[in-house]
């Protein structure tokens, strides 16, 4: 099923200042979109705004032709899921119980736990490789396992759009790649539209079908990484002088920072 998710003239903020101002953006359906930018550029804010966790100050978020503010929150939650940056795990909760909480929007006071919920939880745990952890307490797991459990909870929600706010933070490089491979699997196999905020530009360029580079609450560039990421853009967005080379594995742009203490080594050496 295809979905439309876009923002029109969207302004968002917390204090007196807007963090994101008058922004227009469209999330391509069925693709992996990655939002990148320096700290405090508004990328997480934009993601939270798209997932209606922040009320717009101007403009609106449109989901399938309707303003998100006009839809019931639980209806939105059956189409669009979000894994926040720092969700809270209740003390002592087991993996299966936590993943099961993703079924909330499919239940109501008269419609309690059903076979369909069991199936969705099982599928989510199986595809994230967490099924064998089902009865373990979350607190007994490693950081990488824990993050896969949270992703499983977001998947149990069974939405076509999945938004993830910095899901690779606190993971080592191996687990980062593993998680991004998993999200790519979900995107390719189940045609889920995935939107991520990532810090690592090289991984962003490799895994994104569509990249959105933000600075100071505005979009500087967006498009396929290979078309839009070059040294000039990285320098503008991050203020970082760098070289951009083709990634030897994926041929996507790979960023090599210059820093102040190193001079380029001549290629002939």
């Amino acid at each position: 099923m295809t979905h439309e998710l876009r923002a029109e003239d969207l302004s968002l903020g917390y204090g007196p200042q807007d963090v994101v101002s008058h922004l227009d953006v469209e999330i391509p359906d069925g693709k992996i979109t990655v939002i990148v930018g320096a700290n405090a550029c508004g990328k997480s804010t934009l993601l939270r705004g798209l997932a209606r966790l922040l009320a717009p100050r101007t403009g609106s978020v449109i989901l399938d032709g309707k303003r998100v503010q006009d839809l019931r929150s639980v209806e939105v939650a059956r189409v669009l899921g979000l894994l926040p940056q720092t969700p809270v795990a209740p003390d002592g909760i087991t993996v299966a119980d936590l993943v099961g909480r993703g079924r909330y929007p499919h239940q109501s006071w008269f419609r309690r736990w059903s076979a369909e919920d069991d199936a969705a939880v099982a599928a989510a745990m199986e595809s994230t490789g967490t099924a064998e952890l089902a009865d373990r307490p979350l607190s007994a797991l490693s950081g990488g396992q824990r993050q896969r459990v949270w992703v499983a909870m977001a998947l149990a929600q069974d939405t076509d759009l999945v938004l993830l706010d910095e899901p690779t933070t606190y993971l080592d490089i191996n687990h980062q790649v593993e998680l991004l491979d998993l999200l790519t699997d979900l995107n390719r196999r189940h045609a889920k539209t995935i939107v991520l905020v990532l810090h690592d530009l090289n991984l962003a360029c490799r895994y994104a079908d569509h990249i959105i580079a933000m600075k100071a609450g505005a979009i500087i560039r967006e498009g396929a990484p290979i078309d839009v990421i070059d040294a000039a853009v990285v320098t503008e967005v991050f203020g970082l002088p760098c070289e951009v080379l083709p990634d030897p594995v994926s041929r996507t742009p790979m960023i090599v920072p210059r820093g102040r203490h190193h001079v380029p080594v001549p290629e002939s050496v």
Binding site: W113, A122, G129, Q157
Partner: protein, 355 residues
């Protein structure tokens, strides 16, 4: 730790089986523990009515309670003297136990019980004020206590509101409000004459023997309505526990659900406090004990209610019959609760959570 590259249907079927079995086991554990607690609470409920200067057998207690007995002297002792106190202990314990756990889950902190965040002290100030300044009947004192608890809760909620409620701000402001109420209560008692001060102090310690029949009836009706309501609302509590962002992303109406759950918990603890005074620590310790017994197998709200009832029934039994002088119930719950609080504060800080 390899991420599976291909998910087979048989794997999913296997996982469904694992999850269903796990759910049945967890439900069984919750049901087992809760039933055991309920039976224990009932046994204590009967036991508190057996002992005293006129000993009665358990069968006489049960027969008389359910109006099956025919011995008028037993009926008088059980139904008129002991049943109201035992019922108050049971009802107050149930209400405080469930209310405390709802607070702790909602504010994600083991210290967030209503006797900590100023709701009980709001009730205390209003009750003491009505005793000393207005010289009113016991019935009005409990109405005042109810009002005081509700006003304190509303005050904390409004002061803590800033684009929503966070657990930390609610607790800190609640402690501040609590201190203010305690200070004002102290001022009133210091100015009162000795008889009023004594009456006020007695109320403040709390005793299940204080409740009048009307207060008890109101509490029982509230329990009959609000306990099932809490269970219906439990699935919202389950997602609110994951933090505001996760709960909103799952489609929960976070602010409304939090307000409704807080209101239910406040009304329960306010009515319990109005009936028996602010029995210290019952709401604080019932929830964690229930959660420890149930483990990660369920929410434990019903178990917390029964643990609360057990604590108050035991405290009443000890206060009336075990110690050489008869004490108010609150002295005993305080004596049980204070060491727990010290242990909690010590371990919470060591683990770097909550507190």
């Amino acid at each position: 730790m390899a991420t599976p590259t291909l998910v087979q249907d048989t794997d999913v079927e296997h996982a469904v089986g694992t999850i269903q079995r796990g759910r049945v086991v967890r439900k069984g554990r919750v049901l087992g523990v809760t039933t055991a607690l309920a039976l224990l609470a009932f046994a204590l409920f009967v036991a508190t009515m057996m002992v005293g200067s006129f000993p009665v057998t358990p069968w006489e207690v049960i027969a008389s309670t359910f109006r099956l007995g025919s011995d008028p002297s037993v009926d008088f002792v059980v139904r008129d003297l002991r049943l109201p106190v035992a019922t108050t202990a049971l009802a107050v314990g149930l209400a405080m136990g469930v209310s405390g756990l709802v607070f702790q889950k909602l504010l994600a902190n083991p210290l967030a019980s209503p006797d900590f965040v100023g709701i009980s002290s709001g009730a205390g100030l209003a009750a003491v004020g009505s005793i000393i300044l207005l010289n009113v009947s016991a019935m009005f004192v409990s109405v005042a206590a109810l009002g005081g608890a509700l006003v304190a809760a509303l005050l904390i909620y409004l002061l803590a509101w800033r684009d929503g409620i966070t657990g930390y701000r609610f607790i800190l402001i609640g402690i501040g409000v609590s201190e203010l109420m305690v200070a004002l209560t102290g001022y009133l008692i210091a100015r009162a004459d000795i008889f009023e001060a004594r009456e006020a102090m007695t109320w403040l310690v709390g005793s299940v023997g204080n409740a009048g029949p009307t207060q008890l009836r109101i509490l029982l009706v509230a329990l009959a309505v609000l306990l099932p309501l809490t269970l219906v609302l439990n699935r919202h509590l389950d997602v609110l526990e994951l933090g505001d962002d996760a709960a909103k992303a799952l489609g929960a109406n976070v602010e409304r659900m939090r307000l409704v759950l807080l209101a239910v918990a406040v009304v329960l603890v306010a009515l319990a406090t109005a009936a028996a005074g602010p029995l210290p620590f019952v709401a604080l310790i019932a929830g964690p004990i229930a959660v420890r017994l149930i483990g990660a197998n369920g929410s434990g709200l019903v178990a917390a209610a029964f643990v609360g009832a057990l604590i108050v029934l035991v405290a009443d039994l000890v206060a009336q019959h075990v110690v050489p002088v008869e004490l108010p119930t609150g002295v005993v719950t305080g004596a049980i609760g204070a060491p727990y609080l010290i242990w909690l504060l010590a371990t919470v800080n060591r683990e770097g959570r909550g507190g």
